[in-house]
Structure formats: C-alpha cells, structure tokens
Amino acid sequence: MTLTKKIINSGDDVVDEMVEGLLLAHSGIVTSVPGSPRSIIARHGPRPGKVGMVIGGGSGHEPTFVGFVGKGLADAAAIGNVFASPPPDPILACAVAVNQGAGVLFCYGNYAGDVMNFDMAAEMAEMDGIEVRTVVTTDDVASAPRDQRHKRRGVAGNFFVFKAAGAACDLMLPLDEVVRVANLANDRTYTVGVGLSACSLPQTRRANFHLGDEEMEVGLGIHGEPGIIRQPLQTADAIVDDMLDRIFAEMNPQRGDRVAVLVNSLGSTTLMELYVMNRRVRQRLDALGVEVHATWVGPYCTSLEMAGASVTLMHLDDELTRLIDLPCDCAMFRAG
C-alpha cells in the first residue's frame, strides 16, 4: 500500500516541530510555559481575579485548540500527540500558569482519553490548591441518542462553547458563572459532520479508514470514528438538509429564534464547497424564520487532511449573543 504524502520531517517529531513553528509565527499572541512546550498560554489572557480557562486535546485538529488561545478566549491549551489527549503534566502546567486565584475551567471534547487525563490533572491541581471545574463539550448530535447527550463527542461546536466561556472569563465572571455559561453554551450547540475521505496519521501515513469511491459517512467523528450511516455521496443541498434535519429535531427552532452558524471543513474540503453549503443553511433557516446572527466558514476544527465538513448551530439567547459578539484576539479566529 502506498503511503500518503505529507510535508513533515518525521512523524515522531511533527507535534513538537509544529508547536515550535506556531510559537514563532504568533509570538505576539501566544507563548509556552517554560519547561512545558506543549502548554500554550495567551500573552494577554490571564490577569488578577480572572478565572483561567484551559482547553486542549489531541493535535491534528488545528486551528483547534492552539488557535483559540488569546485574550477573550482560552487562556491556555494543552496539546497532545496526534489524535491523543495530552497527558496530565502539560494540562497541570497550563492550570498553574493561568491560575489567578479565581479558579480554573477545564473545557474540552468528551473523549475517554481526554476525560482521564484532564481529571488526573484536575486532581493534581486541587492538591496544589487550585480550584478546577470541568465542562466537557458534547455537541456531536450523531454520536449518541438524545437521552444520552452526556455521552456525545465534542467536535466543531467547541468553537462556540470556547468563545462563550472565554468571553465570560474575560468579563471577570466568577467560576460558578463561567461553568454555568459553558454548560449553557454546550447545551445549545449542535453539530453534524460528514466525511468524504480518510485522513492519515503522520506516523503511519496510511488512510485511517476506508470509504468507497462514491461514498460518504454521515456523522463521523473528527478522528475518523465511524458515523451513523454510510451512503452514496449526495449533493451539497441534500447533505446540508440531512444535517439540519438532525439538528432541528433536537434544537426545535421557533420563528424569531436566533442562531450562530459554523460551516467547518474537516481538512481538504474547500472554502468554495463550504460557502455552497452555507447558502443552503441560510435558505433553510430563512424558511423557518430563524435569524442568523453571525456566520463562520472555514477550517476551524479539522481532522488532518480529511475531506468532509460539518455544520454547527448555536441556538442563541441574549446572554450567548452578547458573549459571542465580545471581541477576542487569538491567532486564527476573527470575532464580531
């Protein structure tokens, strides 16, 4: 079997070299904790009395998570190997670095590995006298039935949950309030993704699953985990309709409601395709009389070079609207 082609030096070094390159590129916005290069912290985030917000997870989803560190967003991100949760040490280093006495929020996608490692880091932080609270994101509608929402994966909707929670921290809300906001944001955020082709890990350079030439996988995860159904590739409109039907079934949108929209590329799906999708998203929302308050289109939560896309809706209320609108200053994200 032929190996995939990547511009890397070695699969074993790729994460460390990526971190090096990104710290150089965005040195005005982020730096790393001395002695813990995979603990990325915002230069202008933490300040006295502010709740510190630590996000993180495996690499390979860039700009998630590293790109979302900055003033008004996350104060720190702990970076793992490709598709692997970071171990507790770099998470703890983040918590220590951003702790300003007001406690720390851990916010990350709901995966067994992340939960175990972040929980270990939380225990260690508590031993250091740092109060830690955790909110895991569970926006992937396709990943478990509605009555088991807590089992769902966190995917591109991270973007909205991090934005809202980061804004709450920036507004100097206390830890309890930040946790409430993060949970509220997560509860009101819904994502469905489709995959058109596999990605390949830099260490193996082999496709991590196989899809037929004409097939797509509906509901697949951002690590290539299988979804709920494999079917022939549809048109953009049909794909979006199916995604939105699944989201609407849960969100139950009413005329006059407001949403924020994220049309996200999993990697190699182009902006051209995403904008075609966004057109359909808007048609459907218009038809329901739902107002689109803001739209983001682009590769925000990727799965290496996977082809595919996801649509996320955040069902806004007044509080979330204000939080989403609050300016922020990170390396790869534009707000407002």
Binding site: P87, N117, R206, H223, E225
Partner: protein, 211 residues
Amino acid sequence: MTYETPAFIAMFTAIARSMEENRDHLCALDGVIGDADHGIAMQQGFAAVDKALAALDAGQASPTDVFNTAAKSFLNAVGASSGPLYATAMMRAGASLKGKATASAQDVALLIPAMTKGISDRGKAQPGDKTMLDAWQTAADRVLALVEQGSPLAQVLTEAVAAAEAGAQSTIPMEAKLGRSARLGQRSVGHIDAGAASAALVIKAISESFG
C-alpha cells in the same frame, strides 16, 4: 527463583519490542472502530519507558522504582486513553512490590492482577464493555486461580497468555460501551478491540520475558 530490578527492566524491553513490531497492525485495528492511533500510543509509550529505564541506575533502583519510572514516562509520552490506563496499571504493579528488592515467582505472577486492578480503577470499565479490560481481566482471573492452586510461574504465565488472547477474541462479538467506539453501537460488533489486542501482546511479552 527470585527476580530483581534488571528482570523487570528486561520485561519492559520485551514489551517495547513487541509494540514496535505490532504498531501498524494495532493502528489498523483501531482504525476500524476508533481513531487508528492505538499502535502509535503503545509503541511510543513503551519506547519512552525503555529509554527512561535505560537511564535508571539498575544497582540503585528497586523493582518498584522501575514500575513507577515506567508509569511516569509512559503517561507523559502518550496521554490518550492508554496513557492513564497503563500508567495506573504500572503504578499498581509497583505498589504490589513495594519494599522488596527481590520479587518471588508469586510476586511476578501477581503483577497481572495488580495491573488489571489499575486499569479497572482508572477506566471504570466493566468486563463486556469491549475494552482492553476484557483481555486483562480474563488473564488476571486465570492467574489468581492458578496462584491459589500453587501452580509454577511458567504455567501461570503460559495460561495467562492464552486467557488474554481468549479475552481479546471475546471482544469481537461485543458492542462497545466505552471509549471512542462507544458511539458505534451495533457497528462495533464483529471487530476486535484494539486495546484488548495489544493487551494480549503485552501479557505475551511479559510471559516470554519471565519464561
């Protein structure tokens, strides 16, 4: 026969070699229902262990030190699900040898139940959840039964391997309940769990190292 620090270092070297050899195979297994990285985690984790142990002063270090060093280096190299699970397993194994400069044959045999306890405590999986615990628990149960009967170490380990392999195979018809494949429900049925497959290889390497 008794076992000292170098024997445990050699055991980890044997595991590391096996994971190196099986890396791509384990990734492929994980790819079917997970994220295709399990082989990398295991290879990278045990390579880090091997490196950390090589830096240890074998004259100074106790068997417990070996396991604690292994736990720490595995965890920090890997993260993921395997990191906390195996790190906790190794810490429990280290604790079971606490204060001993030399380990008996029985101590060695009981490492497997000790590690299993660590995996179970950390991951809170149940047998039947289609995880690595299905291999570890089957092996641990067999070990405990044979130790009870006073069987010799070679036999205990040989049967542990067989039990682990059977446990790994038993995951094939299971529906996943935990970890990345949990959301698959029915679609996870018919495929072996990658963590269970690697567990059988780890136990095999342990067995061969002491055999």
